[in-house]
């Protein structure tokens, strides 16, 4: 089996992969990181969102080989304590979309300047959810941004 080297969830890793496997398959089947979900397999729903070099990507559209040398982060690496706002705001029902939502929200929160040019609803538009109506999701991301701003000592 071919291999690639990458940084996976913060640690250097050498990963075996099937040549035809998408990054999503390698994560889920090869590495048993099943937090990343498959909702559509063609870049429409966002359930498979991971961060590649800090930017959200649909891992169902990324051939594994393309992730060589990249910094790949999955939901499993997002620090749980930062997720409290999403938990409290009721951002999840069935939870099938949630890992993707969490990863996109982590991207928004590490790039808070994005909200100067985009609304949260636009920034989260790549993540479909059939259950929650997005209300809790948007609230949770907003509260997360507020929390981050507070801890940076800026005005919330």
């Amino acid at each position: 089996m071919p291999q690639i080297q990458l940084t996976l969830n913060g640690s250097p890793a050498t990963v075996d992969y099937e040549p035809h496997h998408r990054l999503l398959d390698t994560l889920r089947y090869g590495l048993a990181l099943t937090g990343t979900k498959e909702g559509c397999g063609e870049g429409e729903c966002g359930a498979c969102t991971v961060l590649i070099d800090g930017r959200p990507a649909n891992s169902c559209l990324v051939p594994t080989y393309q992730a060589r040398g990249c910094d790949v982060r999955t939901v499993e690496s997002i620090p749980a304590e930062t997720l409290r706002p999403l938990l409290e705001s009721g951002a999840t029902q069935c939870g099938a979309c949630t890992p993707g939502v969490v990863v996109t929200s982590a991207w928004v929160r590490s790039n808070p300047e994005l909200i100067e040019t985009h609304t949260l609803r636009q920034l989260m538009a790549g993540n479909l959810c059939r259950c929650t109506g997005y209300d809790g999701i948007i609230d949770g991301v907003q509260q997360g941004l507020d929390m981050d701003a507070e801890s940076r000592g800026a005005k919330p």
Binding site: N9, E18, H20, D25, R28, Y29, L33, T34, G35, T36, K37, E38, G39, C40, G41, E42, E44, C45, A47, V75, E76, S77, I78, P79, A80, E81, L83, R84, L87, E88, S89, G90, A91, T92, Q93, C94, G95, A96, C97, T98, P99, V102, T119, R121, Q122, M124, A125, N127, L128, C129, R130, C131, T132, G133, Y134, D135, G136, I137, I138, D139
Partner: protein, 692 residues
Amino acid sequence: MADRTMPSRSPLPNRPMNDGIAMSDDANRLDGVAKVTGSAKYGRDVMPKNGVFVSFIRCPWGHAQARSIDEEAASAVAGVLEVEITGREGRYHGEPIGHIAAESLAALRRARSALNIEWDPEDADTEIGSPEASHDDDPDGADHVLEAVYTTPVQTHSSLETHGTSIDHMGDRAIIYASTQGTFSAREGMDRVLGMPQSRFKVVCEFVGGGFGSKLNGAGKEGLTAGRIAAKYGRPAWLFCDRAEEHLDTGNRPSSRTHVRIGYRDDGTIVGGSVRTWGGVGVAGGGGGVVMPSNRYDLGRIRKQHADVRFNGGGPRAFRAPGHPQGAFAEELMIDEVATATGRDPLELRMKLDREDERRSMYELGARLIGWKRRQPTGTQASVLRRGFGIGSTSWNRFPARADAEVVIHPDASVEVRTGSQDIGTGQRTAMAIVVARQLGVPLDVVHVSIGDSSLPAGPASGGSVTATNTSLAMLEAADNLKETFLERIAAQLGVVAGALKIREGDIMQDDRRMMTWQEACAALGSAVSGRGSRSRRSDRQYSGSGHSMGVQFVDLEVDSETGVIHLNRIVAIQSCGRVICRKTAESQIIGGVIQGLSFALFEDKLLDRNTGAMVNPNLEFYRIAGPADMPKIEPVLWEGNQTGIRPLGEPPTIPTAGAIACAVFNAVGSPVRDLPLRPDRVLDAIEGGRS
């Protein structure tokens, strides 16, 4: 790896209207941590080692015969275990005509193309069409008659986790990881295909990625086929649909056509008439019912006839309030058409027609919250952006279902709530923990829930909003039985009479004196104690309460009269459900119901090509569901009314939304759009046609 623990309490969300109504105002979903951290395991996530992958071979046309199939070539693909063709005719796009089993998903894919099937397409019917309605004579006492046809498209459930089952076959026993709404019904037929008695296997579905009715039919063809393969090879088997298959062959809300011929008086009173409805059921035998009239309004004497129409499409399955949203769309818009024709305010007319006084109070509150006063009479706006307001109403009865429950106090002071039925995302797990914590008198954080496992006490399949309403009765009885045994044993230890003891916030109290802490008491037990309960006539009498859930929704939107695009501003959803258990999950259910109604109103449409019968949008790009950017501000209001006990909440909030939106669009543009979805081209046609 980061610390996976998080506090489970939080300050209140910002909806002061609902403060203090629920048993728990601040509890978070108990499985929220597992869900936000990605550690929750769904059926699709279970890929047992040495598993066999299975997929169906499906018809790509509305109706076709497979003339030639290269089974040999497909079987010869490396990694393929078997190719089985079970029929040659496909009666709808997506109908299985056989299956492939292989060592990997890639081998499955290669084998599918190696089949090289040559199809002879045949003519396909793709829709209800325009059946003739023979209406009776005009109703007596009418000054005017409204004749109109309302249609709704096929809507697919579009759960984010697709249908399927993963079977861990371990020789003489098995675990079925099913994505199902019925942990117990998923066992049916499985014994036969596995060749194992039900005592040798169990169904586990701790987490289910949505269902909305589409996962009610037991293990389904996915589970049974996977079971057959698992048994045949004595290995684990995995079969999950992809998104296209999910749209094509896992059920839907059937399309509908409602033809009304209704009489009304100058004052807006509706005096009756005839309602003819048709449901588009694909190749299924039935299931296309349209709930119109709803019986919420006094519409005089209605003669109703219904017929299901078959065509070349996948059959329907129950979908959150089956038959209701499509019926409510026709009914609400019809009422607004009558109101407008008679120069009456639709709110005032509903106040008159509605059969429930309680809903009249809801209308008053809703009108105030949405700002109904700002509504301009229908058809009076000439600006580019036109504001519209609309109303819809809803109701849902409680249906009895079988449910058992067990609650256990362990010596380590934890309380285990045991129910086999599933939490499909509704918050059942959280709700049952809250119910038990309150009834026992212990803090929520000592309560743990074991759920979604057929070796636990039996519970209903989650359809018709029966899960919480019935399981809670069993839970209440179990908690009471447990409390009695527990206090008897503690009283014996303390040498007091059991009747003198109470549990308060976990403390064992005699009068106002704390005799023992929760930890001390549980440790003193030495062994676990348990109590059982079930939903029965007796528990019904004691705990069930009365009344049915009802609600109203108000919509405020804008229509761009140049583009036909609808922009939703706000939706106020007032909903009663008896005693609210968990505020956050209840609010979330309401908002979730609204968004599915909204998405039905504006976007969703399973389109079959009229020439080939094939679905042209079997994906989430062109089969559009509402996304974050489509959402208005939704304000759920938990209504405390005449209902007592725990009443249904899953279905009712999705019923009125599409109708209310259609009414608001009518109000804005002056002509009704009688076909869902309310696409821009239809809105423009209505503006230009100016019929009203």
